[in-house]
């Protein structure tokens, strides 16, 4: 059913604490992705970005990111208040129509702008019953580890969260069909991409599993061939275990050669980076088939899975 769409370039940056604006962080990254793809800015027919106003601390923060795309003459553009992996998904959907062939997708996030990132992210929770308790994402992750019978402590997870905190930006160029083969000697094809959600309430779901990841994995055919490498968006070690099980990855599958999100987890960008790192594994490291995963929300609430393959 779907039209062949390939990733032809990817660029990203992560920094512990930047003085730059999101726009400044994005500009060189977008430029690099465009140059790597061997196209001009005006070859791009659709643009979709991801970011979160709350991280920047200002409503409409995403608006100035348009500057980094050079949106003149006016561009066909959309924005999701989500990780860039979902922006990539929207771009992939747009490319399915057949009337446009080249899309730019990017995302950015400044974790360092929050006085306390853990406090800021509490605002992602149900505003009536959960956020007034100030139960933060690290605490929910700790509940999750407990539900799995693991002995990771809250302090362990808090240390992981703090060490992986980054500001960042990433960009990818997606190209459909024959145009991708013209532009790239090594296009990396998106063989399937799907995303699914869990219930929000931590007490209403089995935190030790990820059925949404399993559904997405089934839909994109993760199990239809050997997986050479997987880039999983697991901000905490126990979440990698949950995801491995949900994706039914064997022990032989190399997971997160990039270091993964336990090493660097720039908000709104880490998911797109997983796709980008999987792309690099196929385009540069000779891997044939890679799985990329992105997550959003507390305790892996929302999950996106895609399968990437070389020619």
């Amino acid at each position: 059913v779907s039209r062949d769409v390939a990733i032809v370039s990817f660029a990203s940056t992560t920094v512990p604490d930047t003085d730059l604006t999101e726009t400044q962080l994005l500009y060189p990254v977008i430029t690099e992705a465009i140059e790597q793809a061997g196209i001009q800015r005006n070859d791009i027919q659709f643009t979709c970005s991801g970011s979160a106003d709350y991280l920047a601390g200002a409503p409409f923060a995403f608006v100035s990111n348009l500057e980094a795309t050079g949106a003149w003459p006016p561009i066909s553009e959309s924005h999701v208040e989500m990780d860039g992996a979902w922006a990539l998904y929207e771009a992939w959907v747009r490319l399915q129509h057949g009337d446009v062939d080249v899309a730019l997708t990017f995302s950015s996030g400044l974790s360092s702008r929050s006085a306390d990132l853990r406090e800021t992210l509490v605002l992602q929770l149900d505003p009536y019953y959960l956020s007034p308790l100030w139960v933060d994402q690290v605490s929910i992750a700790a509940l999750q580890a407990q539900a799995m019978g693991r002995d990771d402590t809250l302090a362990d997870l808090a240390a992981t969260e703090k060490a992986s905190r980054r500001d960042g930006a990433a960009a990818a160029i997606l190209v459909a069909g024959d145009r991708a083969r013209e532009l790239s000697s090594r296009p990396v094809w998106i063989r399937g991409i799907d995303h699914r959600a869990e219930i929000h309430y931590p007490g209403m779901r089995d935190l030790s599993t990820s059925p949404s990841t399993a559904i997405a994995a089934e839909n994109v055919g993760v199990g239809n061939g050997a997986v050479d490498v997987a880039e999983l968006h697991a901000p905490y070690p126990h979440q990698e275990q949950i995801l491995r099980e949900a994706l039914k990855l064997g022990d032989d599958v190399a997971v997160n050669p990039s270091g993964g999100a336990v090493a660097e987890n720039p908000a709104m960008v880490a998911g797109l980076i997983r796709i980008g790192e999987a792309f690099r594994q196929v385009s540069q490291n000779g891997k044939r088939r890679a799985v990329a995963h992105a997550t959003s929300g507390p305790a892996l609430q929302q999950n996106l899975v895609c399968v990437l393959e070389g020619e």
Partner: protein, 381 residues
């Protein structure tokens, strides 16, 4: 496009301040109404797309996470679109693309705002940095339009009266001023010169929902009239740089040209039966009439002045009462898109335009820099 996209369900809440339901309850109300209209249930839906203006308006970050439960999304995909004030329109476009691409078959999309649970003008003014609100930003553009076009001052008052009179026929409209007159608008306080209080939109709550399906599912319904999406387009441009014209933005012109090309519209004033257009301040009606190609540059105000944009005119604009009568910001764009669909489905009740077959929905946002439009008809593309 791979698949035709039908609008088979439309739902909205009342747009006055809502205290009896939560944020999730508000979306659920609109969603239920759209599903009932579509003769479907929550279980039938493949994917949900929500849209709302900045998260700071309600103080909930990335609300799709919290709303997933109320919207029946366990095990399903849910996305959240944010393109400033145009978001309701952009969200409908994203949802329609899920269907027209062939990726999903039955999509529910909901746009919302619950201004009563936040402080929107604080948000619109740049939060802690302070500012002048949306009206303060747009007022100089409106003044520039009046100067350029030499439009009489009463044209703005006429739009304000017309939209509020239309709102009297819309059971969901927020602001209802039965005895409104030009004099009342003229004598209302000046808020941001030249915009008077009664020429401004209210602070509303509300949600709007659409159920979109592919042709197979729309055709399977008996004795049923869907609306069909004939064209969609979005454009964005930089908000500020020398050479940009914020009064008649290129992005708006390009969006209109794009949807007209897709829908085979060559003479918009003749070919379009009704427009639901994003008019948060009265003067945006004549300004957008020009921007969207319904009138030559400098002459949009004449359509208003001669009554052509009234319900009985040649091109009824905002028979629902428009944004001037209800402004749940994140939902306002989708309401325009939904009302356009209601018109071609002959579903608009007292504010139905007789014989509406081709309708345009329009939304804009940011510094008049984000645009979304669709063209819907009663017949298949």
């Amino acid at each position: 496009m791979a698949e035709r996209c039908a609008i088979v369900g439309v739902g909205q809440t009342h747009h006055a301040k809502v205290i009896e339901v939560s944020l999730a309850g508000l979306l659920r109300q609109a969603g239920e109404r759209a599903l009932e209209d579509a003769q479907m249930t929550w279980k039938d839906i493949d994917a949900v797309v929500i849209g709302t203006a900045p998260d700071q308006f309600e103080g909930v970050m990335m609300p799709e996470l919290y709303l997933a439960d109320a919207l029946g999304c366990a095990g399903k995909p849910i996305m959240r679109v944010h393109t400033a004030g145009s978001v309701g329109g952009s969200t409908a476009v994203v949802a329609s693309h899920l269907v027209s691409s062939g990726v999903r078959e039955k999509v529910l999309t909901i746009a919302f705002e619950k201004q009563s649970e936040g402080d929107t003008t604080w948000g619109l003014s740049g939060g802690r940095s302070g500012g002048v609100g949306a009206g303060g930003y747009f007022a100089p553009h409106i003044r520039a339009y009046i100067d350029r076009s030499a439009a009489p001052e009463y044209v703005g008052w006429m739009v304000a009266v017309k939209d509020r009179k239309n709102a009297l026929k819309n059971p969901y409209a927020h602001l209802k001023i039965p005895d409104i007159t030009l004099e009342m608008v003229r004598d209302s306080p000046m808020v941001w010169e030249p915009v008077r209080r009664l020429e401004s939109c209210p602070t509303s709550d509300g949600a709007c929902a659409l159920v979109l399906t592919n042709e197979k599912h729309a055709d399977a319904k008996r004795d049923f009239k869907p609306a069909w999406v004939h064209a969609t387009a979005v454009r964005s441009e930089l908000g500020q740089f020398p050479g940009r014209d914020p009064v008649n933005p290129q992005g708006g012109q390009d969006t209109a040209a794009d949807v007209y090309r897709q829908a085979g519209i060559t003479d918009p004033l003749n070919d379009v039966d009704v427009v639901e257009c994003y008019v948060p301040f009265s003067w945006y009606e004549p300004m957008w009439m020009e921007n969207l190609g319904f009138a030559p540059v400098g002459e949009g105000w004449k359509l208003t002045e001669t009554g052509e944009t009234e319900m009985s005119g040649r091109l009824p604009v905002n028979p629902s009462g428009g944004v001037l009568s209800s402004n749940p910001i994140g939902a306002s764009g989708m309401l325009r898109f939904a009302e356009a669909a209601m018109q071609v489905r002959e579903q608009a009740g007292e504010h139905q335009v007789d014989g509406a077959r081709t309708a345009v929905g329009h939304a804009y946002g940011g510094a008049a820099q984000f645009f979304a439009m669709w063209v819907v008809r009663n017949e298949k593309p």
